[in-house]
Symmetry: C2
Subunit: 458 residues, 2 copies
């Protein structure tokens, strides 16, 4: 029997896609190409997956975990000779514990569906990102997803209490802890969070839910100096006592393109300042919180840190402000661009952006370097465009972005991960000892190198 | 040359304690016995430690990491033939980054010293526990310390951004990330947090600091049913919108002993209720927050969940309320007792306590079973006393505490760790597959089993 036949004997016809049906599926929601793989396996439960991995391990067959295929770092790219294993049939939400404030669910549940389920109980799953409708909770775990509320609630890692993963040899590692505190031995779930499917296949999780905030305040601020951006972050974070839930900064050229040059959005504030900050709070009492929020903004205005401000007066105004921040696609309209996802100490950001611009200018007369990001988390996104998608040129652009991170201990990926896309740059953020230690873990858990081989490192 | 001579050639005379000076040091701050070990090594920096571990690894010499020796799970117990390595000379606080809100420091810094350093910058290190003056940051990391503010700020794990650890073979793994977000490869620091020194020796860390809260509200509440305790937790957590920082519950027999039977404390509330909840908030505006806090307590009183309440009106009143909760030693006055540290889903707590009492009653006519804990985190402490410290009897008591955790997926250690003390019970909380995976990690990182051997598991 071939491996595929072996697998079919486990998952049945419904659990297997082969032939040209494989390529008829898109390789990613941002990718026009089809999936290249020998098969897509769709196990219906953990037991089937366990048997499939045991077969693949015995045959040293490479497998690539597939969630919602919304990743931005080529972490789920497959090739001929490999088998994709999709979580698309693992979509059960098994339990919501209202008292313990946890949700137990399978890995293939889309993030948005989990968010909606939490809402039914007046609770919140505090991880949110643009791809919420398509990305899966299992993918969010495997990539340690970030998003817009990290400053208050942390990354996906901070919302995972327990999980179940199938190891390379098919063993099922069930570690479905439901408590905030558990120091009974090693915290094994950490091995499977943010390791991009290279150490195990996440099949289930217990997520921590929070009480849904009863108040939200949102404002867009204009600030002229980056020093002001930092000062105001510190001031407002302290002033709010823990209810700051977003501090998103748009550099002027981001705001300008979205609201003036080529867009549908009206500029809520005139486009004459250097930085625009979208700020949001989540608290407990709308009236009191709004008063306090306005008071803090007034202080910022009166001491001249903030040059201008607009507070959302309704949910639709709030949506309009967020739509500006979220309209990243606008930047993809004119010529080829590439989005980068880096992090660094906040105090280094201004110099870093200047250095990147200097390097771009030294290489190209005409270029685009649009910056925005979750400044409160140390995370910047840079949209780089050099008028060309020539691979050699792209490599130079990548160097312009990544090399300046080394002296400031920055990270080549803040939230998207490494995948195939950034593995050649991993050494910029991580030492040889660190990378060797990653390889030791990989070897200990997946000695035949069957799980997402070639991703993160070789 | 002997191993000790080899080590002395690295650390010098000042770096080494041998002979009876070893036993003259106490094995732990709660232990009367002296340290039993061939030597105590006191490296002055990471480089020395690296060389020492290389020597020990070559010679398969067991080493036991020593921090402040305040652990409660026998995680730092040594024996003849082993060498203790103390962090007592690694006490530098290297940097506080006010903008990035991080502190970089060596592992031997006492927790309290780090807290005080943060205070100088109007910042806060949000990990706090009774042993703050003696325990070290490195020990807090290695044991993933918990404490009183976990419900708001998480465990020590959540305050560690980066760290440096020396591996078993002497390699220095420097992973001093300073950012909230870094998905550049595996999050290796997790290997050294809460693994009790079995995978590496933590030498340095970057800790996340928070803005110091500008307001605090503290109250002691009396509630008659455990259902009320849970309901009010949910109500107040939601009502406060994220500023709840402690929800400590004392069962009646805890409160009674501390405030009535044999104590210096006056009972702030009469001792006629079943549960006493010490609740604290930390926020941004004292006046507004106090008003809101009082309003929520009034609601709790008017709908009869809370039977009685007292709000601290001053810092000294606050201290008096906390002193009741913290006076655990009082329970050690009459006969031998043992403190347990377990966690479970909050909804299981009441039945669990009943079950433990039933099992105690079935074994002993006269026993003590005093319960208190960080209920908001799912963490209970049980003080068990059976009038005997006979080892066989103690084992029966341990079974009474631990066995009922199995069916409810509880943890035999919530915050203290496993060490030697609980390793025979690890299987109650973790499956064979999980324990085998822990052993695989141990083997991959410490193939000669020199780092704290025999702790956590065999």
């Amino acid at each position: 029997m071939t491996i595929i036949q072996d697998i079919e004997s486990v998952v049945g016809e419904k659990g297997l896609i082969t032939g040209k049906d494989v390529f008829n599926r898109k390789a990613g929601i941002w990718i026009d190409d089809g999936i290249r793989a020998d098969a897509i396996v769709r196990p219906k439960d953990t037991l089937e997956l366990s048997k499939v991995l045991a077969i693949c391990n015995k045959n040293k067959q490479a497998v690539i975990p597939h969630g919602g295929l919304t990743g931005l770092a080529e972490g789920a790219i497959t090739q001929q000779g490999q088998i994709a294993i999709s979580s698309e049939r693992l979509t059960a939400i098994e339990e919501v514990d209202e008292i313990g404030r946890t949700m137990t669910l399978q890995a293939g549940v889309p993030l948005e569906k989990a968010q909606e389920e939490a809402e039914k109980y007046n609770l919140m799953l505090p991880v949110d990102l643009g791809a919420r409708g398509s990305c899966t909770v299992g993918g969010n775990i495997s990539t340690n997803a970030g998003g817009n509320m990290v400053i208050k609630y942390g990354m996906m890692r901070d919302s995972v209490l327990g999980l179940e993963a199938v190891l390379a040899d098919g063993q099922v590692m069930t570690s479905m802890n439901q408590m905030l505190k558990n120091n009974s031995g090693y915290d094994l779930k950490q091995l499977f969070i943010g390791t991009e499917g290279t150490l195990g296949y996440v099949t289930k999780a217990v997520l921590r839910l929070r009480e849904k905030p009863k108040s939200t305040n949102t404002a867009l601020l204009a600030i002229d100096s980056f020093d002001g951006v930092i000062k105001f972050l510190k001031f407002i974070d302290k002033g709010l006592g823990g209810s700051l839930s977003a501090y998103e900064v748009m550099w002027k050229n981001f705001y300008e393109l979205i609201t003036v040059t080529g867009s549908n959005h009206n500029p809520p504030l005139p486009c004459e300042h250097n930085y625009y900050v979208l700020i949001e709070t989540s608290g407990a009492d709308q009236e009191k919180d709004t008063g306090h929020f306005e008071h803090l903004l007034e202080q910022g205005l009166s001491n001249q840190i903030i040059k201008d401000a607009i507070i959302a007066q309704s949910e639709s105004e709030r949506s309009r402000l967020w739509a500006i921040r979220d309209d990243v696609e606008q930047h993809y309209q004119e010529g080829p661009v590439k989005m980068f996802d880096v992090s660094m100490p906040i105090s280094e950001m201004e110099n870093y952006v200047q250095e990147v611009n200097k390097r771009f200018a030294a290489n190209w007369d005409d270029y685009k370097c649009v910056v925005f990001g979750h400044v409160g988390d140390g995370n910047l996104h840079v949209i780089g465009g050099i008028g060309s998608d020539n691979l050699k040129e792209i490599k130079i652009m990548e160097s312009c972005i990544y090399e300046p991170l080394k002296p400031i201990n920055g990270a080549v990926s803040a939230e998207h991960g490494i995948g195939l896309e950034k593995k050649n740059y991993l050494h910029i953020s991580r030492s040889e000892t660190e990378i060797n230690l990653m390889k030791s873990l990989k070897k200990a858990l997946d000695p035949n190198n069957i799980l997402n081989p070639g991703k993160v490192f070789d």
